[in-house]
Symmetry: C5
Subunit: 96 residues, 5 copies
């Protein structure tokens, strides 16, 4: 799963029916030290993530394996909110 | 999902049977500020997107989870038309 | 789907049983103006594409959704032959 | 499958229900000589891998084909712990 | 499918049960002229490929569509051994 930060949101009124009422968040991959490293893209939120939070994103078919995205045409889902990251014994991120 | 712009269309008379009558649109990934950043590719349109519109594209198996692409050999589908994008409190795109 | 050109063919006598008798074509991704931009790879032909033709390629699980590749261990299939491409009102490719 | 090293761990209390109790490890792709070459990401551990070990990672839908990840929204799983690697007759890695 | 060369092998005693007894080969993507171009990774062998042979590799879910990898958590399988490659009328590779 990618480590990413929620940096914004998207509005789409014309979209696949199954997605009506679902939050579309703009996310950007980050390093383990919370520096943005990738190109922003859009993910469906399955866990109630908020702006600025560090999250875990599953890509591909995994995006259809949450209760709110079953059989939805989505390829990226936020499936966890990160509390902390530790690399080689050092805490590189802790949710404030 | 990728943020992309519809920049053209493709015509293919010899193609998988299930795709007869489906629109093949040429799209290009864009940044959140609507600058083209990627290499153009072809997506099936599931929502009635028009030329020049900013859209959301699902890639991979997700492309088969719209009513018009069930069991079709496609790997990219336009599943939403974007009205606006907001990043860190600033509107970076609004449909005109 | 990728826009690609058929540039050659591969021969493999020892292969997954389900692929016996199937054409293995070497293809290369191209731009909308038919310039080769990618690294050649091998795709199964589902539509009778010929050498030099511009084609549409679906990657991933989509490759198993044609009559001749059902349940085959393939990840790339030629699912359409391109007649023409149009970008921003200009025809960038037309089959000769 | 990717060759990767376990370099850390992630904590997420708010996550997809099916993942409660599962270890989230931070991994980094490595060369056959155990030099880190990629960007760290998070994988589910299906085999009891420990910090510092070299492992095999399956990406995509393969991540749902272990007993502990069936139908889970995950896209990367550690499915083997590496004992040794041999390239062109030379052992390039041996677990100490 | 990728064109790749078998350059080595991996040993893993702790791994997903379904893979016990399966060969784990180290492969590297090559050009049509058999020059290595990619980063080595590990693939399951479904056709009896040997060291040094040029092979076809299917990635993603396709890896589960051979008799020996059904429902296995793998994302890359060798599904063919290459005898020859021809590009624009020239044979660029022939198995010796």
């Amino acid at each position: 799963m990618l480590i990413a930060r929620v940096i914004g949101s998207a509005v789409s009124t014309v979209k696949a029916d199954i997605l009506v009422g679902r939050k579309l968040l703009i996310v950007c991959e980050t390093s383990v030290s919370d520096e943005m490293t990738g190109k922003p893209f859009v993910a469906i939120d399955a866990v109630g993530a908020g702006h600025g939070e560090l999250v875990l994103i599953s890509q591909g078919s995994a995006g259809r394996f949450t209760p709110m995205t079953v059989d939805a045409p989505v390829d990226a889902v936020i499936m966890g909110i990160l509390d902390s990251l530790e690399v080689d014994g050092t805490t590189t991120f802790r949710k404030s």
